[in-house]
């Protein structure tokens, strides 16, 4: 693949996205050349990584992620995924948009506590085979969560267990099977509720998020993976 220094990442910005700058910071310090992509255009996405950040796209009206899914850029994202052009990472609201778009199975809905939860949680890595995780040397990561609609639900419990990448150690929101993050069948789309971009520097209290960004980096540069 490409030379390591030239890796590019695009961050999609919807009206209401609010983690786009955190994502920019996290990707930049992990060596990506980063660009923002305004959601209103259907354009060729020529990036190694597409990041769909957290926030409240379209004010979370109707359902979380339901209206953002129809933004023109999402058809570009779907093409990007089908053509396996690169990797897609959806965090929090980004994860919700990906499930609404049907790219990832299931849906995210209101926490059983009906509360907005904002705290650090421990997540356990269940599947080390995906590009997003296969260079992570730890089994448990500490990552922040901040959501009211983070309870993962899947109809008739139909979820291939190999699609589950992260599970909460202590389920904060009532997610099915403690699910915190899942991948698609092609292993090129990863959606998760915890925010790795908010845990990428010692001043933020945790640097565990960088394991994910560095894993993506190693995968994209074709470096030998640690776990496989």
């Amino acid at each position: 693949m490409k030379n390591g220094n030239l890796l590019t990442a695009g961050i999609i910005v919807f009206p209401g996205s609010n983690c786009d700058r955190d994502a920019y910071f996290a990707l930049t310090i992990n060596g990506f050349n980063v660009k923002y992509i305004w959601h209103d255009f259907n354009q060729l996405l020529d990036f190694d990584l597409v990041f769909i950040p957290g926030g409240f796209s379209y004010g979370d009206y109707l359902r979380v992620g339901a209206l953002a899914r129809f933004s023109p850029v999402m058809s570009s994202v779907e093409k990007y995924i089908l053509n396996k052009r690169g990797l897609v990472l959806g965090v929090c609201n980004g994860f919700q948009i990906l499930t609404e778009a049907g790219v990832l199975p299931g849906v995210l809905t209101v926490n059983t506590s009906h509360r907005f939860i904002c705290k650090d949680v421990e997540v356990e890595i269940i599947n080390f085979d995906t590009p997003f995780i296969n260079n992570v040397q730890k089994k448990i990561l500490t990552l922040p969560i901040a959501h009211k609609e983070g309870r993962y639900i899947v109809i008739d419990n139909k979820l291939d267990p190999t699609n589950i990448v992260l599970k909460y150690k202590e389920n904060p929101n009532g997610s099915f099977d403690d699910v915190a993050g899942i991948v698609n069948e092609g292993y090129n789309v990863f959606g998760l509720m915890p925010h790795p971009e908010r845990a990428c520097h010692s001043v933020l209290g945790s640097e565990d998020g960088n394991y994910i960004f560095q894993s993506i980096r190693r995968y994209l540069t074709g470096a030998e993976s640690i776990n496989n």
Binding site: Y58, G59, Y61, L62, L67, F70
Partner: protein, 89 residues
């Protein structure tokens, strides 16, 4: 104290924003539907609340429903409501 002869009556209270009050949720959804080329003329969001009220008569129950809707479920400055009888199962 609830007497034996009381019956239960069901009502649905439909609440929506009054004409002319901006409904950001409706406006946003409207824009997306138009973008998707649906010939939608307007979108308004509302909510539906079901009440079961024990009273002697249908009239008394409906009065209570109206009172609850007016005093508690809505703010008459912003919202209108409509009460629909629910047929008992």
């Amino acid at each position: 104290m609830i007497k034996e002869k009381h019956k239960t009556f069901g009502f649905e209270v439909k609440v929506k924003l009054r004409e002319g009050i901006l409904d950001p949720q409706g406006a946003t959804t409207f824009k997306v539907l138009r973008r998707l080329n649906y010939n939608v003329e307007s979108v308004r969001f509302g909510k539906s609340i079901e009440l079961e009220i024990k009273e002697d008569s249908y009239e008394a129950a409906k009065d209570k429903a109206r009172e609850i809707a007016y005093k508690i479920l809505t703010n008459p400055v912003l919202e209108d409501f409509e009460i629909i009888d629910l047929i008992r199962k």
